[in-house]
Symmetry: C2
Subunit: 465 residues, 2 copies
């Protein structure tokens, strides 16, 4: 009979202790395969527990397959392959803490945003209201393209703010641009050959690459992607950022936009992906309307996100599909569930409909404008050495430093002063032959003091008076 | 000079009216390319507005590329290709409402869950607390694998509740299983050939298919996927649901699990994907521990979700990678941003850590158990005609109806009574030669009254006394 001691003080129920004990005996081979176990009655007596307790233990062992019940005979240990070495279930798990210590550097990252001015109260109010109604609808699986209410709100917002033309049914929400690009990739019935501006947004580049697409870097001139070069390529998709190219900051003029649209009409199945990632922030005049708005032949796939305009941690992007692709999507891809939680969708919907988003954008535009203006003003005495470009829009500027230091040297010397800056060269798919070192200065997540302090240190590092 | 009337009552600023007017003139070709525009001074006088107003309008037209400024000469309309037909910006957008009217049918769907018992108050409390602190961290871009705190919480929960062995760094969060499967697909450096139980969870099947994988259906016996047949195939990945196979409800006994694990060791780069989608709900004894917990050679990719245990609209799943795949992920895939919003991650973290999740699961287990028991009891007088299988676990059961009606007929006759039921045949990749019509009855989202009413109507439809 088994040496099983039952600890009446133990948290786990009796039947579980019996089950655990016998399971371990079997796993450790202390009980041989095919061994007959005592009847529930016998074991119950032996252990001084109720028979039903033993019953439950045996039932669990049966359902997990450790033992078998043979009618009219009793319970037998199953033939569990002896070859296999089990992992010990009492193995310790070591949890190494991943939190990396934040260093005291000033980071001119182009990726950050200003969160000092995040509308916490509004956000709190909206989510409170949504939850207070015990609204079950909040937690039922939603529309695979996204909540209709939100798509309706988005459609009119994009029409008003970006000149984008679409009905809600053409909008597809997703948890970030990268995910939407993955969907797009599966949506295309032709093998995508993707032309990208060089330099470009590397996140998108990596997604296209990882999804096995051929990518063709296209040179940019002051007006953006060079359509002549695009025509020479075998690309069928052009990925562009016409309102404010990342990282160059180029605004694509209407003429180039139209050349691009004409290119799509010179062959079947050609598309433009317009990534309108930060168009909300323009500091001179009004935002540049989207390319999609002038597309007469339904060739533009428009993409937008709330990462810059609200917060990066809110994983919500949207794409607007041309009719043909939309049909394909509805036919072949609608089995994909929506990836954005309904709660977030409804919060954003209220945020836009309630006019909070517009107010927030106006506020942020002025916050960013003053940071932008400050940063530029700090270099105004250095016009001879420092050439600024990509200004008046977005959350970063570019500077060329003509002090005979290489880009690499500029970065390392800044680093030694406790300043983190990035080089434009990071963003090239193919680095051009005549590359002039260029530094990217993001200003969104820095306070005005940090900007002043940072620039002072940069000048020191770069030996600029 | 231009026929421009300025509406001082209009909401849009003067400069914008001028800009819009000239833009339309150019687009509509009423002003020819290369035409010289009046000087800002001249136009300002003509319109009786300040010169800076006209300046702003011109600047906007320049930045969008409609006009060009030629030094010492003035402003000229750019050469905008005449070939191109613009889309009219005043085009109306028709918004058709997508809300489909909910019909009054009783739906025995296997996909729903019970939301009557959703812990609204807890949820409200947790999200309120998180937001009340004006915690900026909530909105900063987070860890690409998911918040460390949550992964730490998950690791110990999965160890306690599912016998899963992992450290937090091996957990990768994502907005739903489908997304995680897409990532997995990109992660594999070998071409995945995927063996799936037949019948299986078609959502996963569709994702694998869409991602261009070869899929091999493997016959199931009463213990699950037949390893003999798996061995004969050239599959390198086996996708299984050992705790409670969907749709069959099979629990894979330890012996079959070990055979499966042995199969992975018979060649390099073989993996098991264990989808543990609804293991929390077992109504007889305790939950069946995960296969991953007995895997001694690090071949199991474990996947779980909160869709069943909390709510489908919360798009949060997780996968636990074997070390080799984890290294590959960190090396090649970490550029993908996390797809679950940080807010949702932190809510779930509090929900689990605070003990609310366990309480919720216990409550739901008893709620579902009574629905499950009720549903089964309603057929107890019909043992001769109705054979029940896949019971004691999950949110659905299977029934064979031996009344000489085909599956199709059973479904349509139910439909005519206002009852929606699904046939098992929907879930086969390849329908077996000797297929016996089987009906799936999900009970989670139905009230006990609806279950009673529904079964009564089913019996009527199926001519069962």
């Amino acid at each position: 009979m088994y040496e099983l001691t039952i600890d009446l003080n133990s948290k786990s129920p009796l039947y579980e202790q019996i089950y655990e004990f016998i399971k371990e005996e079997i796993k450790s081979r202390r009980i041989e395969c095919k061994t007959k176990l005592p009847s529930t009655r016998a074991l119950a007596e032996h252990l001084q527990v109720s028979r039903s307790t033993v019953d439950m233990a045996y039932t669990q062992l049966i359902s997990e397959g450790y033992i078998e019940s043979v009618p009219y005979k009793g319970y037998y240990v199953s033939e569990v392959s002896l070859l296999y070495n089990f992992r010990g279930t009492d193995e310790k798990i070591d949890i190494k803490d991943e939190e990396e210590d934040k260093k005291d550097v000033i980071d001119f990252s182009p990726w950050g945003i200003d969160l000092e001015n995040f509308p916490f109260n509004t956000w709190r109010k909206i989510s409170k209201n949504l939850l207070s109604s015990n609204n079950k609808e909040l937690f039922v699986a939603g529309n695979s393209r996204g909540e209709f209410e939100l798509r309706k709100t988005l459609a009119s917002y994009l029409y008003e703010a970006r000149g984008v033309h679409c009905s809600p049914d053409r909008i597809i929400l997703g948890a970030g641009n990268e995910y939407l690009l993955m969907l797009l990739n599966q949506l295309m019935d032709i093998k995508p050959v993707i032309a990208m501006e060089n330099p470009t947004y590397l996140q998108a580049y990596s997604v296209f690459k990882k999804n096995g697409n051929q990518i063709i870097p296209i040179t940019m001139d002051k007006n953006g992607m060079m359509v002549k070069e695009l025509r020479k390529s075998n690309a069928n998709i052009a990925y562009v950022m016409p309102s404010h190219q990342f990282p160059m900051g180029t605004v694509m003029p209407i003429k180039r936009r139209i050349e691009l649209l004409e290119w799509t009409n010179e062959a079947d199945d050609r598309y433009i992906i317009e990534d309108d990632y930060d168009s909300e922030f323009r500091y001179k005049g009004k935002p540049i309307p989207a390319l999609q708005g002038v597309d007469g032949s339904d060739r533009v796939i428009y993409m937008g996100t709330f990462s810059k305009s609200i917060a990066p941690s809110i994983r919500m992007s949207y794409m607007i599909l041309p009719d043909k692709l939309l049909d394909d999507f509805n036919r072949n891809m609608s089995f994909y569930s929506q990836t954005v939680s309904k709660m977030d969708q409804l919060i954003i919907n209220e945020f836009i409909k309630g006019g909070y988003f517009e107010r927030h954008l106006n506020k942020m535009r002025s916050v960013y404008k003053s940071k932008h203006d400050l940063l530029i003003s700090l270099f105004k005495e250095n016009k001879d050495i420092i050439k600024i470009s990509g200004e008046n829009s977005g959350l970063h500027i570019l500077i060329n430093v003509n002090n005979s230091m290489s880009e690499e040297k500029l970065i390392t010397r800044a680093k030694n002063e406790g300043i983190c800056v990035h080089g434009l060269s990071e963003y090239y798919i193919e680095k051009p032959h005549f590359y002039k070192g260029t530094i990217i200065l993001g200003f969104a997540n820095l306070s005005e003091d940090e900007i002043i302090k940072g620039v002072k240190k940069l000048k020191k590092a770069w030996l600029i008076k």
